[in-house]
């Protein structure tokens, strides 16, 4: 069973600060997604990374995929209260070349940005 270790579990910061969330595994991902979820709602897909070393930017969010495709990070610059929420990473482990796969989710990072 593949596991995703996501850290930290909780993050409480002041508006304007920077932060980084990490997602690690001992297995190689075929692809990795980052989601953001607000209370009482479903997760919303932010980004997909598939190539080792890939970097994607979404406004103040920067997503990085490790060269070996075993880890990923989400960096938020100048956090705002609107960034508050649960951030989830989810990896696709395509062992054996199956035609369809299942996402494995990390346990999430609860981010609170105080005004």
């Amino acid at each position: 069973t593949q596991l995703l270790e996501q850290s930290p579990q909780f993050l409480s910061i002041q508006e304007g600060e920077n932060l980084t969330v990490y997602c690690n595994s001992s297995s190689v991902f075929s692809s990795l997604q980052w989601y953001r979820q607000e209370p009482g709602e479903g997760p919303v897909l932010l980004v997909t990374v598939v190539t080792g070393g890939e970097v994607k930017k979404l406004k103040r969010l920067t997503f990085q995929f490790g060269d070996a495709r075993k880890d990923s990070s989400l960096h938020i610059t100048a956090a705002q209260p609107g960034d508050t929420g649960l951030y989830l990473c989810a990896g696709l482990f395509n062992a054996g070349g199956t035609s369809y796969g299942k996402l494995t989710f990390g346990q999430g990072t609860i981010l609170t940005v105080h005004p």
Binding site: Q33, Q37, G40, G42, P43, L45, L92, G101, K102, G108
Partner: protein, 113 residues
């Protein structure tokens, strides 16, 4: 554009009662469909997934079942609810055969009393 619906949004049911949660997707055809449960706003546990009508794969042994009677309809059921079935149930879909880039519905909050 694609839209995914779930209902009901909230449900309070007594122990031992039946359950039926419905999920429908609009604007796409032949999606992969998924049921997840989320406890206390943390990680998601995959319960069932389906790659086609009548094709259901179960991930976790439990008293829940799933069915896919139509291409874009996915139903989660139980004959007798347990207290441990309480949680936030999420339906998701993807058009990608390998199962990544999933899009989630708004969820159903189930409380078993």
């Amino acid at each position: 554009s694609q839209t995914i619906h779930q209902w009901p949004a909230t449900l309070v049911q007594p122990v031992g009662s039946p359950l039926s949660l419905e999920c429908t997707v609009e604007g796409t055809s032949n999606p992969n469909l998924y049921w997840y449960r989320q406890a206390a706003g943390r990680g998601l546990q995959l319960l069932f997934y389906s790659v086609g009508i009548g094709q259901i794969s179960s991930e976790v042994p439990q008293n829940l079942s799933a069915s896919r009677p139509q291409d874009r309809q996915f139903i989660l059921s139980s004959k007798k609810l347990l207290l441990s079935d309480s949680g936030f149930y999420l339906c998701a879909w993807t058009r990608r055969p390998r199962g990544d880039e999933q899009y989630f519905g708004p969820g159903t909050r189930l409380t078993v009393t």
